[in-house]
Symmetry: C2
Subunit: 235 residues, 2 copies
């Protein structure tokens, strides 16, 4: 974990345009300590760990993070990903509990840390910010409930198709229709909530059915409509 001193100029602008801090007033913004620039993390570095104490918001400026819980038998369940503009650790910061997830870097990341006390003071003094933050929590809650229902009711096949579609919507495709996020088979399994081998077999089926193409970890989407159909999604 290193610090860097470049892109210093953009940081405040980034917070105001891309994050939940958009409604902070200039005087509040001034109090956020960003002089040292964002923290820099490399792939596979852990930002904080389940059970650890955290005391502030980790705002992702660049990169991709996976946020997961480790189950009883050591198997990880990925809860969500963070992409630039997203906040990590706000649940524990607000409730004052220990972190209930681990956050690990998938793609090299730059992170801006904002002390919890500062955030809480903003909540109390700035109603618009409070509403925005509340909206963020509620949105995540809705997503978590949706996925809870999916995992409880859908087959692994349906869920894998849904996950691929969600990854597309979240991270988009590059010019060649490849997903702009690269995950191991095990990581995919840890999103879907299944065994690695099952993911491999199903991906292979999807490939045979011309829904996707596989080039190592890169996944190319050939037939989004049919994947959506398989996933039985509401949208």
């Amino acid at each position: 974990m290193i610090k860097q001193n470049n892109d210093l100029i953009d940081l405040k602008d980034f917070l105001v345009t891309k994050t939940v801090f958009k409604h902070l007033i200039p005087s509040e913004l001034e109090t956020i300590p960003i002089e040292d620039g964002p923290l820099i993390y490399k792939r596979n570095e852990i930002i904080y760990e389940e059970g650890g104490r955290i005391n502030g918001f980790y705002c992702l400026v660049r990169g991709i993070i996976k946020i997961y819980k480790t189950g009883f038998d050591g198997k990880d369940q990925i809860i969500r990903f963070a992409k630039p503009g997203d906040i990590m650790g706000f649940r524990s910061t607000i409730t004052g509990e220990l972190a209930c997830t681990t956050t690990k870097v998938i793609e090299d990341a730059a992170i801006c840390y904002i002390p919890g006390e500062l955030v809480k003071s903003f909540v109390k003094s700035n109603g618009d910010f409070a509403m925005d933050l509340l909206g963020l929590a509620c949105q995540e809650l809705g997503e978590s409930n949706d996925y809870l229902t999916d995992i409880a009711q859908k087959s692994v096949r349906e869920r894998l198709a849904e996950v691929i579609i969600h990854l597309k919507w979240t991270f988009n495709l590059d010019n060649d229709n490849f997903l702009q996020i690269s995950l191991t088979r095990e990581e995919l399994a840890n999103i879907v909530g299944t065994a690695t081998e099952s993911v491999i077999r199903l991906l292979s089926e999807f490939r045979q059915d011309k829904l996707i193409e596989l080039h190592g970890r890169r996944i190319k989407i050939l037939d989004e409509a049919k994947l959506i159909k398989i996933s039985n999604m509401h949208y």
Copy 2:
């Protein structure tokens, strides 16, 4: 759905002592329209339905409510229960989206409705209330993520044991060690995320293993420690 005019006196007191509205100041409290008393609902009545528009908080004064989502194939997934003091509908009220759950009465209920505009004005003007509400959302988020991991990773047997324990913690036991909530086998299945028949078979196993006793829908807990063991819970 009927209104009633009794327990009028306690209602404000109830809001201030038992709910997330505990930090409202008297002048704010005055603006909540409670003159008509709480709304009264009978078992199986629906308060609001998934996909419907709601515009305020439903604060449960008395009774038990189940909050669930209906999956693709018509199967319900119970997300959580509401007991006196709990709020329903706050997610949709805050985000302005349509309701993402249905709420149905399990035990005859009295509910106090608080218009969303009022709540939002409180959030903006009362920082303590904003923090409390944020805390509530974050707590629910944590629980939802926990359960997501459980459903993804644990067996039906483990989950059923866990559900029984959670029901005990949430609703307590009566003098004879019976759970103070009565659910159909199907409802139990809709919490656990499994088929009704599976619940029946596993309950029957637990009975044979002297962990519980069954008297119709009433469940008596004989060996909490072993149920916790089976559930592989962290606590």
